[in-house]
């Protein structure tokens, strides 16, 4: 009989499985966290400013204040995630110490390291990371990420980048599935992906961890679109609390993710949700958050 073990790969990866077919929402205070929980969110992401505001206000975006994260943790029973800057090992250690349930090593914050991501394998707490393609996703998994999400382009309310990233991963997974061993080694070299994890991808026909959509989801239809493309669930950042009626929008997006393949249900869900957040054209952006991370 083996002893009790914490922070194992099974425990980390298994936790991410529990979020599937659900919606994780960005919140900036306990009131918003409660609205998200009441709407049926499977987790909340605690941060100081939603991406749309980070974009507008500029400056260096860091891990949220510890007091705020703790208040949010005390206000809800669902899991609470928080963001650390790319490569900021100390921020991640602090978030783990206060008992956050999941850490997002996120390009939405200003990166702290221009070369290295956090070695996530040494942590007990699981991590989620953004990716634009299969190589990036597999590198993050190799570093210990137990969950992947598309980067999309956060804070824009524009879904095109998330779609591009999901489509790219799907395309590259299918490409890998057609390859023999020699070709796969070469492909791994080409896209900068360790071949051991790439073989798992080839065998499974998907990433070996849960893969969510993020970055630009603003309506129930956007969320349903990402599910149709094969995502396991959806992160909504600015899309909820920058909309006209956050409680209603949150509820509608949760319902849309659960019933994405039923067009009649989606029509009903999409009716009367109120105005979505204002959107931005990607070409007009000064900062492309998706380009952060390596």
């Amino acid at each position: 009989m083996k002893m009790e073990a914490k922070g194992t790969w099974t425990v980390k990866k298994g936790f991410a499985e529990m979020f599937k077919n659900g919606v994780i929402m960005d919140v900036t205070n306990p009131e918003q966290a409660k609205i998200a929980q009441d709407a049926g969110a499977t987790a909340v992401m605690a941060l100081e400013r939603v991406p749309a505001d980070i974009r507008k206000e500029g400056g260096v975006a860091r891990m949220a204040k510890i007091g705020l994260i703790k208040e949010i943790m005390e206000s809800v029973t669902i899991p609470v995630m928080a963001k650390a800057r790319i490569g900021h090992i100390a921020e991640a250690k602090i978030l783990e110490a206060i008992g956050v349930d999941f850490i997002d090593e996120s390009e939405v914050l200003t990166p702290a390291d221009d070369k290295y991501h956090i070695d996530k394998r040494i942590f007990t707490v699981p991590f989620v990371c953004g990716a634009r393609n299969l190589g990036e996703a597999v590198r993050r998994i190799a570093e210990g990420a137990a969950m992947i999400r598309t980067k999309g382009e956060a804070g824009t309310g524009n879904i095109i980048e998330a779609v591009k990233h999901m489509r790219t991963v799907n395309e590259e997974v299918r490409k890998a599935q057609m390859m023999n061993d020699a070709e796969l080694v070469h492909y791994g070299k080409e896209i900068g992906a360790p071949v051991e994890i790439l073989s798992q991808v080839r065998e499974l026909g998907r990433l070996p961890v849960v893969n969510f959509a993020a970055g630009g989801v603003a309506t129930p239809a956007d969320a349903a679109l990402m599910m149709m493309l094969g995502c396991d669930g959806v992160f909504v950042g600015s899309g909820i609390f920058k909309s006209k009626d956050p409680a209603r929008m949150a509820k509608a997006i949760v319902e849309a993710v659960s019933h994405y393949e039923n067009a009649e249900a989606l029509a009903e869900i999409s009716e009367n949700v109120g105005d979505a957040m204002d959107g931005l054209e990607i070409e007009t952006l000064e900062v492309r958050m998706e380009e952060r991370g390596w």
Partner: protein, 200 residues
């Protein structure tokens, strides 16, 4: 026999895939009609608050309760077990189906950093230990009525059975060990046989 996995939110695909490995063809149960059509049901882990809200919104809550009270065999894991419980100790205003005579404490083993895996001895499924994964798991605080404890960990029951209901605070769908699902299928087949005999 038609086996379904309640497919509202959570680790639905994991249960479907492990059931397929035992040789059955399970279906994804998403609405009232699909719930009516299955003869046994697996209630997966996930977020219990999310599942309760959506089951009510899609008008499946009462039907689910009625089906279980009428004897439909159910395997419930983690959040699924919270949904079945008689009482939730530490969260006010969280509804439950009240069909299983246990009271649970949500996240009773702590937050994610305290989540763990451990070997359990479960005599009913054989002598080999079962690797059980506990993720922000509910803790069974007390049992009453006809509830039978199949195994305990650290002083609390973690796998219980009451009639046709089998409930675990851990995740048998995450380790590839088919024995708990096989045990459930046997339980469901026996229930079906009894119903047929009664009908005759």
């Amino acid at each position: 026999m038609k086996i379904g996995v309640l497919g509202i939110q959570g680790a639905i695909q994991e249960h479907l895939s492990i059931l397929r490995k035992t040789g059955v063809e399970p279906s994804w149960v998403k609405n009232r009609k699909e719930l009516d059509s299955v003869e046994a049901l697996v209630m997966p882990g996930g977020e219990s608050t999310t599942m309760i809200k959506l089951l009510k919104r899609f008008e499946m809550w009462e039907i689910l309760r009625n089906r279980i009270e009428d004897g439909m065999p159910v395997l419930a894991t983690c959040a699924g077990m919270i949904l079945l419980s008689r009482k939730i100790e530490n969260v006010v205003n969280q509804d439950s189906l009240g069909v299983l005579d246990i009271s649970v404490k949500r996240n009773g083993y702590g937050r994610q950093i305290n989540s763990f895996e451990v070997d359990l001895q479960i005599d009913e499924i054989g002598p080999e230990p079962f690797r059980a994964v506990f993720i922000r798991a509910p803790k069974i605080e007390s049992i009453s009525g006809e509830v039978r404890v199949l195994t305990s960990y650290d002083g609390s029951p973690v796998l219980v059975r009451q009639g046709n209901v089998l409930a675990a605070s851990f995740h048998p769908e995450l380790t590839g060990d088919l024995r708990i699902h096989r045990y459930f299928l046997k339980m469901a087949e026996a229930a079906e046989k009894r119903i047929k005999e009664c009908a005759e």
